[in-house]
Amino acid sequence: MAEASQQDDLAEILAEASQQQQQDPTNIVARLKRAYVNEKNAPELLPFEHDLLEQVMAKVEDQELVVQQSREAAAAAGGGGGGGGGGGMDDLMAHIYQAELNRVRFLIRAYYRTRLFKIEKYAVHVVKPETNEFAKLSPQEQKYATDYVNMLEEHFGSVLGQMPEKYSSMLQQIEEDDAEMDMVPEPNLDKHVFCRVREDRRDVMFDPNDPDNTMDLDQGDIIMVRYRFIKGLLEDGALDLI
């Protein structure tokens, strides 16, 4: 009897513990975190989160002011050494704000860095006009990508320029009009990724070549699957990469 009730307790405790994971969807830090983790795990570049980053950057500046003010208040109240009770609290507030700011700054930097890394890796693919990759970039990233391709071309060109004519392109093994660019690295959309489901979906077909093979997705499910198959669900916000 005692054991059975203990098991029930455990079940209840665990159920409660795993429910805590819901994040406030309007919280911009939570959104930035999601954007970062998705970006980190997606083999291709995701669209740049213009509005989100604009909001976050603006708020970072606000908070820098707040930290500055709390620090000054703390200094006025007793040299920051925690002399008076009020001074200690100002100091504490400043510390908390600073810590939070550091966390947000890390996310911003990591988000930007992850994107630059992918841009470098697939630079030529990204600037190709016939795909819409270029439109996924921020204006700064567009400039970065274009400049990067030019400097890469110059560097590779220092050796390729000595190769026989028609063998000196960094886009095609042998230069030929209207042939594909067979040297350009592209993201592997068949890479396997881990996802966490946000919205229930019934009978999801992953592989269009295997339409009978479907899966039910329940909120909180963790699945591992080829990126190509869930690209659409990710865009819909039905799941996140983890």
Partner: protein
Amino acid sequence: MSRYFDIDSFLAEQTRVPVVFNSGCTGLGKEMDKMCQTRDLPMGEEVELPFWLVPKLFEQNMVGPKMPDCFDERVWQVVEAEPKNVPLRDFNPHFFEFGARFTELLRDEELHEQLEKAFTARYSKLLVGAALSTSEFKDRHLLSREEEKLLDAGRDSMKAFHDWKYSTTEKLTVAHTVKANKKRRAGGAYGSNQRRAMGDNLTNRV
């Protein structure tokens, strides 16, 4: 072609493949076959070419490839009998990468199946256990380059996990944890290897 810049993909194509020249080859007698006595390579000559030369010549029906030694019947017999102990690296350091490229070219169903079977057996019997662990692994010399990369991907992650878990644990005293470990082990707890490894790790760090 996203593999164009990949070092291992490049090196895998260095594998020698025996071929028969269906056409001759003007001016390349000595270049293609050191024993060749004439300036031009005659028709029907059997030579060994690096794999990177083969696909285009084969596509144009200029050469006919033969099965390279690393995929000999005897190799598959050993792989089947003792998948864990086969030194694939000695047969070909790029056993699977080259194999995948070669079957793609030949479309040889049997070879394809053999490769998949070999990979599956090695993966489950050799790789999984070694990759998701930090205990010593003595069979590295048996692994093909591809397998070694998989192994390292797993082991690096395990090592990073231990580093993370026991980092800044100055305050975590050895005495407590190790003592508790011993108590529990004596009590018949499972997974002694793993726990011992972690205990050691802790001891080293503190």
